[in-house]
C-alpha cells in the first residue's frame, strides 16, 4: 500500500512539474513579444551562450569528425567504398551528431550556468527585488536567455558541422590516404537541402529546450545551497534527455 502511495505521489508530482514547466514556457513566450526589447541583454547572453561555448564546440567537433572518419574508413574499406567517406561523415554530422553533440555541450557549459545564475538570484532575493521594482523577472532575466539560445545554438551547430567535416578530412584524406577530390565530391552529391534544413530545425528546437529547462530549474530552485546544486544537476540531465528524446521524434518526422 505504501509502495502504491509512493508511486501515486511521484506521478502527481511529475504531472504537476510538467504543468508548471509548460506554464513557465507559455508565460515566457508571452513576455517575449512585449516591449522593451532588451537588445543589450540579448547580445550579452549570445556572447555567453554562443561565443564562449565556441571553443569547446570546436574541440568536440574536431575529434568527433576525426573518429567518425577513422571508424567509417575501416567499415567502408571492407566494401571498397572509401570514396564515400566524405558523405558518411557529412551526413552523420549535419543530420545527427552536429545538432545533438553541440547542444549537449551547450547544455553542460551554458545551461548549467544559467540554472546556477538564476538560482542564486532567487536564493538571494534578487528576483524578488526585480518584481518589487515593477520589472517582470521573466522578461528581464529569462527572455534574453531564450532568444540568445534560439540564435546561438544553430550557429554553434553550423560551426560543429563544418569543423567536424574538416576533422574527417584530416584523418580520411591526410592520414589514411582517401582522395581529397572524392571526399568533397561525395559530400556535394550526397548532402541535400533537407539534411541542412533538418539540422537547423533540430538545433533551434534544442536551443529552446536548453534555455527553457535550465531557466525553469533555476527560477524555481529550492532556497538552499543543496537545492541549487540539485537544480543544476537536474537541469543538465533533463535537458540532455529531452534533447535525445526530441531528436528521435523530430528525426522520425523529417525522414
Amino acid at each position: 500500500m505504501i509502495f502504491l502511495q509512493h508511486i501515486g505521489k511521484r506521478t502527481l508530482f511529475l504531472i504537476e512539474e510538467m504543468g508548471a514547466m509548460f506554464v513557465f514556457l507559455i508565460r515566457t513566450f508571452g513576455w517575449l513579444f512585449r516591449p522593451p526589447v532588451r537588445i543589450a541583454q540579448i547580445i550579452k547572453q549570445m556572447h555567453f551562450v554562443g561565443f564562449k561555448s565556441s571553443f569547446v564546440v570546436i574541440l568536440t567537433a574536431l575529434f568527433t569528425g576525426m573518429v567518425l572518419a577513422l571508424q567509417g574508413y575501416y567499415s567502408l574499406r571492407k566494401f571498397g567504398s572509401e570514396g564515400l567517406l566524405g558523405s558518411a561523415v557529412a551526413i552523420s554530422m549535419i543530420r545527427e551528431l552536429g545538432p545533438v553533440l553541440a547542444s549537449l555541450m551547450v547544455t553542460a557549459r551554458a545551461g548549467s550556468a544559467m540554472t546556477a545564475e538564476i538560482g542564486i538570484m532567487r536564493i538571494t532575493e534578487q528576483i524578488d527585488a526585480l518584481e518589487t521594482m515593477a520589472i517582470n523577472s521573466l522578461q528581464y532575466l529569462i527572455t534574453p536567455k531564450v532568444v540568445a539560445s534560439l540564435l546561438s545554438v544553430p550557429l554553434l551547430v553550423a560551426m560543429f558541422d563544418v569543423v567536424g567535416i574538416w576533422g574527417g578530412y584530416l584523418v580520411g584524406v591526410k592520414l589514411l590516404g582517401v582522395s581529397g577530390g572524392s571526399y568533397w565530391s561525395s559530400i556535394e552529391s550526397a548532402v541535400e537541402w533537407k539534411d541542412v534544413y533538418g539540422g537547423i530545425l533540430k538545433s533551434v528546437s534544442f536551443g529552446l529546450i536548453i534555455s527553457w529547462v535550465c531557466c525553469y530549474k533555476g527560477y524555481y530552485t529550492r532556497m538552499s545551497a543543496e537545492g541549487l546544486g540539485k537544480a543544476t544537476t537536474e537541469s543538465v540531465v533533463l535537458a540532455a534527455v529531452l534533447i535525445l528524446v526530441w531528436d528521435y521524434f523530430l528525426t522520425s518526422v523529417l525522414m
Binding site: T124, E125, Q126, D128, A129, E131, T132, M133, A134, I135
Partner: protein
C-alpha cells in the same frame, strides 16, 4: 489608511503561516511588526507588495484589492513601493552605482546625465559617497544595507518595506541603520513598514508597533503605548528581547 490587510490567510508547505491577519497601516508613519522567528512576518510583508498572494483574505493598497487585479495592474501598484530586503538583494553583477541607478534606467524616468547627478547624491545621503564603483561582494553587511536603502529611496516611493534591515549587523551598525531610516523618513516622508527583532531599538524610530504571533496580529498601538502594554504575551516578548539586548551590549 493606505494599507489594509483583512483576514489574510496563507499556508506554505502544508503549514498554516498566516491565520487571518488583519492590520491597518497608517499613512506617512513607520509601523514595525515584531514577533518570534518563523511566525510569518516576512511572508506578511511579501503579501503587502504582491510577491505572495493570500489563500484567503484581502490586501488593500489605496483602495485597490491586490487579490483582484492582474499582473499589469499589480506592477502599477508596485510603482508606489520599494523594499529593503534582509540580504539587501543587490544585483551582484552590477556595482553600487549601477544598482542604485537600475530602477531609474529601467523606468526611463531620468536622462543619463541626471542619473549621474542624482545617484551620487543619494549615495552620499546614505553614507556611501565615492563607493559607487564597488561591487556588492566588496561591501560589508552595513554598506550593503545602505546601498539597498539608497536603491529603495531613489525612485521616491510612497511606501517602503523593510525586511529585518539590521539582521546580521553588530549593535553599533544596527543603530546607525535605524538612525539612517529615521533620517530618511523625515526627509522623504514615506510610509514605512518594518519587520524587526531589534527590541528596544525599534521603539524610538517607530510610530506604531504591532506584534504577530500564531499567525495573527495580537496587539497594535503607538510605540510608547506598546512599551507599556498590559498584554502578558507582548510584555514577555519585550522583556525577553530586552534581556537579550542587554546581554549582547
Amino acid at each position: 489608511m493606505v494599507i489594509k490587510l483583512d483576514g489574510v490567510e496563507k499556508t506554505l508547505g502544508g503549514q498554516a503561516v498566516l491565520k487571518g491577519v488583519t492590520l491597518d497601516i497608517p499613512k506617512g508613519k513607520i509601523t514595525t511588526i515584531i514577533g518570534p522567528s518563523g511566525e510569518g512576518k516576512s511572508v506578511m510583508l511579501k503579501h503587502i507588495i504582491g510577491l505572495i498572494r493570500p489563500d484567503r483574505g484581502r490586501v488593500i493598497i489605496d483602495g485597490t484589492d491586490l487579490t483582484q487585479i492582474n499582473e499589469q495592474e499589480l506592477n502599477d501598484i508596485r510603482k508606489k513601493f520599494a523594499m529593503l530586503f534582509q540580504s539587501a538583494a543587490l544585483f551582484d553583477s552590477m556595482n553600487v552605482f549601477d544598482n542604485v541607478a537600475f530602477p531609474l534606467r529601467e523606468k526611463r524616468i531620468m536622462a543619463e546625465q541626471e542619473i549621474c547627478r542624482w545617484v551620487p547624491e543619494m549615495l552620499e545621503r546614505v553614507g556611501l559617497d565615492k563607493m559607487g564603483h564597488k561591487f556588492p561582494a566588496e561591501l560589508s553587511g552595513g554598506m550593503k544595507k545602505r546601498a539597498g536603502l539608497a536603491r529603495a529611496l531613489v525612485m521616491g516611493p510612497e511606501i517602503i518595506l523593510f525586511d529585518e534591515p539590521t539582521t546580521g549587523l553588530d549593535p553599533l551598525m544596527a543603530h546607525a541603520i535605524h538612525d539612517l531610516i529615521l533620517a530618511m523618513h523625515k526627509t522623504f516622508g514615506f510610509t514605512g513598514i518594518m519587520v524587526s527583532h531589534e527590541i528596544p531599538e525599534i521603539f524610538p524610530i517607530s510610530d506604531w508597533v504591532a506584534m504577530l504571533k500564531n499567525g495573527q496580529i495580537i496587539a497594535m498601538s503607538p510605540s510608547d503605548e506598546f512599551q507599556q502594554t498590559s498584554n502578558p504575551v507582548v510584555r514577555e516578548f519585550i522583556s525577553v528581547n530586552n534581556g537579550l539586548h542587554l546581554a549582547q551590549a
